[in-house]
Symmetry: C2
């Protein structure tokens, strides 16, 4: 992005779709990002904001004046406006709301009254409602009069006079039905209304389960509030799946790849701090065996092997269980069966690697006692890893702590401590006098 090229770049940016502009911003270092944002046509600002990830969006919103923001939000979907507003400080947020027209403000305030990650927070209010007692012909004439339908409309919702949701009629049914047929005969029984308070991850599961394209959202009294379309659900599914992976490395799933250096350093230091404490804990355990370590240097050299293998085996089980919990495969009813299975897998793997490592050490150091000790420790630790890999995430889940976030630290602590105790402890008992 050289100097004097601005006009050229501005032209280039004008032709890109919002998704690509968002991708470009997310892929740029912070400084370039600010320059690029100013070069993007202000008409596109709203669309681009919709597509940006949370952390990058927050950074850009900070640089915008409230009046400017109110202008930008004008063409946006209600759910997206609500999402943008949530990222703002309170005073700015009020100012933006006040500069909207009253109908828009009402809708946005309704969306804001629901938690961000619920059906109410992600719904749109641009539904088309019809009455049950009219005929197909009447509806078709009404639609032709309307001239245009909201984006991605695939069905209409049937409501009574009090706006209570009665059922959903697919557009595809409407065009294939005879003109004189009543709307009530076309209602699709498979489409259920979603309560506005339902968490978004459960909404996503319903969409996956029934292959919906869109679904109606109702309040506690069954009154229609809006609809959720599958394009929003796609984003939820991607975020949810990414969340586990990022959490396991102690990262925020909305983390910005090109965040400023100081910010990244600070975000990562929490996790490094936790790890330092558990690593020091392992050091303290090793320190308890100072005597035997000073007698036999080979024990010090081999001391990392058993904890390392236990950590890998435990993390495999942990990852499998975390995914199982997310997909709903693992619950109270089959937790016991899973525990037995992973215990057996851990034990079997323990036997295999114990024999192998005993052979390696036996040949290398010509010391059968040492080979026996490390084999025994390996078997113990792999079995413990299997048990810990199942029980830790299940316990964390029961305590309402995210297993993806805390699971691997706790697990590694367990496999480190068990591994060191089993190896150095056995060595002390057998050869340490």
């Amino acid at each position: 992005l050289g100097s004097g090229m601005f006009v050229h770049v501005r032209k280039l940016l004008q032709d890109l779709p919002a998704y690509d502009l968002a991708l470009l911003l997310e892929s740029s270092p912070t400084k370039t990002r600010t320059v690029l944002w100013q070069l993007i046509d202000t008409d596109h600002h709203g669309d681009v904001l919709e597509e940006l990830n949370e952390e990058v969006r927050k950074g850009i919103l900070k640089t915008m004046r409230p009046e400017k923001l109110a202008e930008v939000t004008e063409g946006m979907d209600v759910d997206d406006i609500a999402e943008v507003l949530r990222a703002l400080p309170d005073s700015v947020y009020r100012q933006v709301l006040n500069s909207m027209d009253s109908q828009d403000r009402g809708r946005v305030e309704q969306a804001l009254s629901y938690e961000e990650d619920t059906a109410g927070g992600i719904m749109n209010t641009d539904t088309i409602t019809i009455r049950a007692d009219v005929t197909v012909d009447v509806v078709l004439r009404y639609l032709r009069l309307k001239g245009e339908l909201p984006e991605s409309t695939d069905s209409f919702y049937v409501v009574d006079r009090q706006d209570h949701f009665i059922g959903s009629v697919a557009l595809a049914k409407l065009v294939t039905a005879k003109p004189e047929v009543g709307i009530s005969a076309l209602i699709d029984e498979d489409i259920q209304a979603v309560n506005a308070k339902l968490p978004e991850t459960e909404v996503a599961q319903l969409f996956e389960r029934y292959d919906w394209f869109s679904a109606p959202v109702v309040d506690d009294d069954g009154r229609l509030l809006g609809r959720i379309t599958v394009d929003d659900v796609v984003d939820i599914i991607r975020e949810e799946a990414e969340h586990s992976m990022m959490s396991m490395a102690g990262l925020d799933d909305e983390a910005d790849t090109f965040a400023p250096i100081l910010k990244s350093t600070q975000q990562r230091s929490v996790w490094l701090g936790v790890n330092l404490i558990t690593a020091i804990f392992a050091v303290v355990v090793s320190n308890m065996f100072e005597d035997i370590l000073s007698q036999l240097t080979i024990l010090a050299i081999l001391n990392t092997l058993v904890p390392s293998m236990g950590g890998v085996a435990g993390n495999q089980t942990l990852t499998l269980v975390i995914r199982g919990l997310a997909l709903g495969h693992v619950g109270d009813s089959n937790a016991k069966a899973l525990l037995y299975k992973e215990l057996a897998v851990g034990f079997l793997n323990g036997v295999i690697w114990a024999l192998l490592i005993a052979a390696v050490v036996g040949v290398w150091k010509q010391d059968m006692t040492l080979a026996g000790i490390i084999a025994f420790a390996m078997l113990m630790n792999m079995t413990a890893a299997g048990i810990a890999g199942v029980t830790i995430p299940l316990m964390l889940k029961r305590m309402k702590i995210d297993p993806a976030l805390a699971g691997s630290v706790i697990l590694t602590t367990v496999t480190d401590v068990v591994g060191i105790f089993a190896f150095l402890g056995t060595a002390t008992l057998l050869i340490g006098y």
Copy 2:
């Protein structure tokens, strides 16, 4: 699942949707699974097979006779039949194909002619095509005559006499247009045709980018072959996102949580074997410093700290880069900027934790030389971790190796070796005589 309860269970199962039955099967140990499968109504077998994950499905297919399978596939979508058939051994696969009627066989064979993970492999052939020169009124009358549309139809495809794709017309446009308008005026320019050979992950990106509900699939000559709907794309997105997490633990992303013990043990042993080799490598490096380790036991005790912190820091960077690669945020153009950033983050984190660990060791052991050595090693290793976390996945990607699968092993090897060398090497130079 007690004895004598079979009739009762069979009734219960009859009322569950296919998605729930699939979930139930996936959540059951292998033995229960076989019993449950026999209790499920054979009419539902096809739908349930569609929903099952690959590994569980393979297990069940093994138990079925070919004639039975041909029967079961009758009501299934073409893309799902193709997926099931791909899981079968060659001889059975031929038998199933031969027992289908010729039209179905033709369609399935076409789907099978494309790779499993391309647009052609996931498309359906139940499209509705119309000519460009007819009016809205003609199309609406044709649809009413037809009486029913294929599941989740939201648009029609305009083709010429040779079946070349011309454009897509949304159902929503059709119902709001005036009856005398020509179809060519309603074509949605935003919908592009997807080539049947396009990889499914790129198809998913297009859907996310343009918020499509469905998209037409064409061959190299632009002839319409079928369509892809968003519900198939949702599955791809979930699988893709899970893939990274599972790969990082050395697991297959289609791995069955309740696979038989022997099978699980075997699947995991590959990864454990790779880890054993890298762990032995670290042991060999430690072994080079046998002299200093035998002189100072405290070095042996502290030896795990530096590699452990480097491993965690490196994995954070690695995870971020792997996600960035998957989302398309990280490429050749910004790799350098990212490298500088992570190098700086690694160095800064190194300074912080070096000072902290020096303070801890200094206070604990009252040894300022030792504190200085471990601080220096920590700084070196954290910086190396930042560099390795960026360069390893980028290099693997260039070598067409999956960074999620191989990245963390290679990274841990680097941080282990650098950590041990920096710590024990410096100690040897400064105090080892």
